[in-house]
């Protein structure tokens, strides 16, 4: 029996985890694979729209496209759900399809973990509001810290990945520093 906790994620989370793995530039952290770490230690579920969004992201030859290729190469580790048929009304919070479907799925599965990267914008508020239990809401960097604290990812790698994300994704650096202090430095 699979005793890994159920986790629901949206497209951006998977792409962001794959990005440092496929990024061959010197600025990218090396020596670990956060996508593999997440998919191996959590039971990850996604709405079918996420796979559609990943396929759309491929083929352009850029970094995002390479990240999408990697996620698709690991898609047999994802459990996909056709949620379109089940949703009567889309969630009306100004979120995109993948996010709305993901929140619906997390509520439906009673998932103890919903991961988002939407923490830089007010979308984070909407995701919080839309989840039945907002205590299940965590961000990608927070989950990376958890993986580091369980020695599934090296602490040094997660630390370097935070700097990489702060530079390339403009993630809230003050928030990242709080996580660093709580999980990576103490």
């Amino acid at each position: 029996m699979d005793d890994r906790p159920i986790s629901v994620v949206d497209t951006n989370v998977l792409l962001n985890l794959a990005t440092p793995v496929v990024d061959g530039r010197p600025a990218a952290p090396t020596g670990a694979d956060p996508l593999k770490a997440l998919l191996s230690s959590y039971d990850v579920h996604v709405p079918a729209s996420v796979v559609g969004e990943l396929s759309t992201a491929t083929g352009s030859g850029d970094l995002l496209s390479a990240a999408a290729d990697l996620v698709l190469n690991a898609s047999h580790h994802l459990t996909t759900h056709d949620v379109d048929a089940k949703i009567d009304d889309p969630l009306d919070y100004g979120l995109d399809q993948g996010e709305s479907d993901g929140i619906w799925l997390a509520n439906d599965l009673d998932a103890p973990l919903f991961i988002t990267d939407e923490f830089n914008s007010t979308n984070y508020l909407f995701v919080s509001l839309a989840l039945d239990d907002r205590n299940t809401l965590f961000t990608t960097p927070h989950v990376l810290c958890k993986l580091a604290s369980q020695a599934i990812l090296p602490i040094e790698y997660v630390d370097a990945a935070f700097s990489y994300y702060a530079d390339s994704k403009q993630w809230d650096e003050q928030y990242l520093n709080q996580l660093r202090h709580k999980y990576l430095r103490d």
């Binding site: 061959g24 530039r25 593999k36 191996s40 959590y42 850029d62 970094l63 690991a74 961000t139 599934i152």
Partner: protein
């Protein structure tokens, strides 16, 4: 609805007050109006400045300033976002479960791990040079 007002007294360099009075006279507005407008512009500008927002976030996450202060400066939505995010830091995500070591790339991925490199960081690509020669 007119907002409640509070009286402010302060000393300022004489020259700047003179300049302000001259400008106010030209614009046909009161000195007070000019000062309020200038203060409003300065605050709006600061709030949109990334450096200032960073300092404010630091102060809030470090609990040096409270929610009301963030709300009064950045607005309700941004303050709520930071409040929820700060509260989430103290929660623990569910425990990840990994039985053995992480699998190798060959075991885990269906296909190769792609590697992307920026064209501009590659050593001079002589194909372009040849085509333009």
């Amino acid at each position: 609805m007119a907002e409640e007002k509070t009286r402010v007294d302060f000393n300022a360099p004489k020259s700047i007050v003179e300049r302000a009075d001259n400008v106010a006279e030209l614009l046909d507005i009161s000195r007070t109006r000019l000062l309020i407008d200038a203060l409003q512009d300065e605050l709006d500008e600061l709030v949109n400045e990334e450096g200032f927002r960073n300092r404010l976030r630091d102060a809030y996450y470090d609990e040096r300033i409270d929610f009301q202060t963030v709300k009064s400066v950045l607005g309700q939505e941004e303050a709520m976002r930071m409040k929820l995010l700060r509260a989430s830091i103290d929660r623990e995500p569910p425990e990840p479960q990994l039985k053995a070591e992480l699998p190798s790339d060959e075991e885990f991925y269906d296909g190769e791990v792609p590697v992307w490199r920026s064209d501009s960081e590659e050593p001079a690509d002589n194909e372009d040079a040849e085509s333009t020669a």
